[in-house]
Amino acid sequence: MKGKDVVIGISAALLLVLVAVIVLLGGTAYTPSREIRPLAKFYLENCINLFNKDWWAASPEAVTSMLWDYRGIDTYYETSVFFLAIISGVALFRIAEIKLDAEGRKEEKELGLSIIVKTSTRIVFPLILIVSASVAFHGHLTPGGGFQAGSILAVGPLLLIAAFSRHFLEDRLRLTEDKCLTLRSVGLILIVLVIALPLITGAALLMLNQPKLWAPVSPFPAYVGPIWIAGTLFFLNVAEFLAVGAGFTLLFLLLSIPEEVFKRVLGL
């Protein structure tokens, strides 16, 4: 045991010294500096360039335009990693499909925290929904987007579970695990549809946002009347918002299953 600790300590110290030496010798050439990388410059110059529309994403938000346009397929795969994790969680807790019986269930008033917490949660919960929706629907114009908005949305049910109870969510709001799973699937299917739609219209390019040199037609306009929707970005943000929000809500619902239920099901 002693020898192992010494080896780990020495290797950790070596790693530290190595990083220090590399940084001091200028190995990380583009540390915070006055100039940024050429790649970043390209994105900043082209994301809403009205004078040269060959490479534009029609969005003033450089981060979102990169996320869903310039490196769109990469984001799509990251989304699939995310949902693989959620599906694994659901598969692990599949005994939760067993209906939670009503016996021994306390009155709703007895569950949850005090009336002060419940009242403030009632005030805060709609605000969380509004903020998340605004972050999602303005994701292509202001900082934000589907991922962030979905995470904000999932805080709402988590707060309700903590302040009220799981039963409040299931019985009063009718927000069951099946509904979350369905919402999440609707979001994912929307994403796939938006990705594949350019193929149907003959553009022969997946995840086409704005017309490119070799794909001159895009089914998604940059704006509809006075409303700027930035092509695919708006739809993808909303779909991802649904999917991430519902996915996290599903996980929180699974985590809040009472321990006694598991003990009984597993026979412990």
């Binding site: 940024i36 994105y43 994301c47």
Partner: protein
């Protein structure tokens, strides 16, 4: 070496120290829960490092969001000269959410292990047979 450079190196060293400490926690943590906590610290530090690398020095620094929908050529040139690097931010957005999902999945595994074996200590779980 100027003060600016010194602060840069200090930031790198501080973030690396946290990464090394969290790696030690992942490798030598006694309980699965402690390993999970170390893993989240590791992920968050990696994200902080990424954002730090993308920052920009200068008198005027701007978020990578164009403030107007119909920019002129001067606006674009100004934007490209003051905005911070958007690439690391883009990587971190997805990394945070995926980190959270993976953390929850691992938490599920640990909870299930605790239910079945009654412990999260690595050594005790390793001694279990069958």
């Amino acid at each position: 070496m100027s003060l600016e450079n010194l602060l840069q190196v200090y930031c790198y060293i501080a973030l690396t120290v946290i990464i090394v400490m969290s790696l030690y926690g992942i490798v030598r943590g006694l309980s699965l829960t402690k390993k999970l906590i170390a893993l989240t610290i590791f992920g968050d530090t990696a994200n902080a490092l990424m954002i730090y690398v993308g920052f920009r020095l200068g008198e005027e620094v701007y978020v990578p969001v164009m403030p107007t929908l119909s920019p002129s050529l001067e606006d674009i040139a100004w934007f490209a000269s003051v905005a911070v690097d958007p690439v690391p931010q883009c990587l971190v957005i997805t990394a945070i959410v995926i980190n959270m999902a993976i953390t929850m999945f691992l938490a599920f595994l640990i909870i299930q292990a605790f239910r079945l074996y009654g412990t999260t200590a690595v050594k005790k779980i390793a001694r279990l047979r069958g």
